[in-house]
């Protein structure tokens, strides 16, 4: 049987399938559908220093082969996570990464420092790409100097795996990727949602309370795949690919483009068991193609 184990720096994943922040809650929400311990990792909901109520309803609009969301980082704050949620999930035998966001560099630092103390959290995913908050979030990830500044600052205080989640809403994503790699990121994950919009023609109003929101789902996959391919060639740290993955074939495309691991997001809403299907599907793909290690797929794109 082919090996599915992959390394992201010091972090060992039993297989390359992770779940994307904001689509998988804290894992518990899916415990009736899948054995969480069989996943390569889960990235839990975006967490900020202080509790946030998020944006007003409506926060979601269905689109062709996708959806827009404008949740706006609703969460209980890092202390709420540590006191209420962490005790419930710390015994999951998978890699639990916390997605960390903030409005200021100081907020990122303080949140990361607190999560650094949690034994069962081997890494964070630094969110410099949330399009749905007024301050911070994507603003950090769309300019090279600010992306480097926040990654640098968090790197100084955070001792475990530092994954940085990149925004696709930029002119050249490879510049940002190289910047955060230089600042000490252990891996980069991409892509976050694409900034989008929907209008109700009957009311002539925006569908979302925030007017614009983040587009996800299969409709963004070609864009995500292209960016993963570009970034994988530009950096030396492992790349975690995501954006519209909804099948084994999608996942393998991202690996071939250069990803060492992948995250499944929006597809969990339509099929809550999709992660397990993709893990089994990758295993079958290796068998059919007589490959003995999933790592052989990473970057194995044939371009001639």
């Amino acid at each position: 049987m082919g090996n599915l184990k992959v390394q992201l720096g010091e972090l060992t994943l039993s297989n390359p399938v992770m779940t994307a922040s904001g689509t998988f809650g804290y894992g518990e929400e899916y415990a009736d559908f899948v054995d969480i311990n069989t996943l390569g990792g889960i990235v839990v909901k975006g967490t900020t220093l202080h509790a946030r109520e998020g944006n007003a309803y409506p926060r979601m609009a269905e689109t062709a082969k996708g959806m827009l969301n404008a949740v706006g980082l609703q969460n209980k704050g890092v202390d709420g996570f540590i006191n209420e949620i962490y005790p419930r999930i710390k015994n999951f035998k998978t890699n639990i990464l916390v997605n960390v966001s903030g409005s200021t560099v100081e907020e990122y630092i303080e949140t990361a420092e607190k999560i650094n103390e949690l034994d069962a959290i081997p890494g964070i995913e630094l969110n410099i790409s949330c399009p749905n908050v007024k301050e911070g979030g994507m603003a950090f990830g769309t300019s090279c100097p600010s992306a480097i500044a926040v990654a640098n600052a968090v790197r100084r205080v955070y001792k475990k795996h530092l994954m940085v989640k990149l925004s696709p809403n930029v002119t050249d994503i490879t510049e940002i990727a190289k910047g955060v790699e230089g600042a000490g990121a252990d891996s980069v994950s991409l892509i976050n949602t694409l900034l989008g919009m929907a209008i109700d023609v009957n009311s002539r109003k925006p569908v979302l309370s925030t007017i614009t929101g983040g587009l996800s789902g299969p409709c963004i996959k070609p864009v995500a795949l292209r960016m993963v391919w570009q970034v994988a060639q530009a950096v030396n740290v492992p790349v975690v690919g995501m954006g519209g993955i909804a099948s084994t074939e999608d996942a393998i495309e991202f690996l071939l483009a250069g990803a060492s691991a992948i995250q499944i997001g929006t597809a969990n809403f339509i099929d809550p068991t999709i992660t397990i299907k993709v893990i089994n599907g990758i295993r079958e793909y290796l068998e059919i193609n007589q490959m003995d290690d999933v790592k052989q797929l990473t970057g194995a794109l044939i371009t001639r």
Partner: protein, 257 residues
């Protein structure tokens, strides 16, 4: 516990131009469900219906392991569901959400508007099984929009309003004579339907010391508390309609009424 299961369509009964009732066979013993809970139904073969459709559990028959879903054709997704035929498979994630709670007294009024009548049949049956005879107040635009009145009449008294007066009392549900008596014949209102209707009922209940449980229909992506898209403002802040609801005590909601 939540399940993900392929049901088989037994019948697709057309009720009106807009509404069908699907009867779905479960492959084994049905899990226990609470009235007011819902299913997230996967729509196969609709180009522009990407997400599952949240639909109330309309009725449950534990002896035959079947459930019913009432479907109003409002868009591409529900149009595809309304075309399903006997023998077709339908994938459900269910039972989801927090349903209605049983009352402390036996005097209950169940008020439905439009497709909001859907969960009230299962709820009415639940009351009958617990020795409570419910009263139903059902509102529609016209006589042609009233669905399955005979099914409700088998469980309790049914009162009807239509906006054009083509059936029952003319007006909205709040205008029905049973809402006008000085001392109402009920202590608890259970409602599902348009927000405007439910807000009027919540105000009515609040001013008379009556409890009012309302079922919300906020747009959802996941249906089980992962995406946080379907929130409603409550006295405790934003709460997910899919997990903390869809049924809420109206006093818990931050409604301007």
């Amino acid at each position: 516990m939540k399940h993900i299961t392929d049901f088989t369509v037994v019948t697709n009964q057309r009720e009106t131009d807009e509404f069908v009732v699907l009867t779905l066979q479960h492959p084994g013993e049905l899990p226990s469900m609470v009235p007011g809970q819902f299913a997230e139904v996967r729509v196969d073969g609709a180009e522009n219906a990407f997400l599952r459709r949240p639909l109330s559990i309309h009725d449950v028959d534990y002896s035959n392991n079947t459930i019913k879903l009432l479907i109003q054709e409002v868009g591409e997704g529900t149009r595809v569901l309304a075309k399903l035929k006997s023998g077709d498979q339908l994938n459900l994630v269910y039972p989801l959400g927090t349903g209605y709670t049983l009352p402390k007294s036996n005097r209950v009024l169940l008020v439905g508007g439009g497709c909001g009548v859907a969960p009230l049949l299962f709820l009415g049956r639940h009351f009958v099984e617990n020795g409570i005879r419910p009263k139903f107040l059902i509102g529609g635009r016209t006589a042609a929009t009233l669905i399955r009145l005979d099914a409700y009449e088998q469980l309790g008294d049914v009162y009807v309003t239509t906006e054009d007066g083509s059936a029952g009392h003319k007006g909205f549900v709040i205008h029905h004579p049973i809402m006008k008596t000085e001392t109402p014949e009920f202590d608890h209102i259970y409602t599902c339907g348009p927000d405007a209707m439910m807000k009027v009922l919540a105000k009515y209940a609040g001013s008379r010391g009556i409890t009012c449980q309302v079922s919300l229909e906020n747009h959802m992506a996941c249906g089980f508390g992962a995406c946080l898209c379907c929130v409603t403002p409550t006295v405790d802040g934003h709460k997910c309609t899919c997990v903390d609801g869809p049924v809420f005590d109206s006093k818990y909601l931050k409604w301007e009424i």
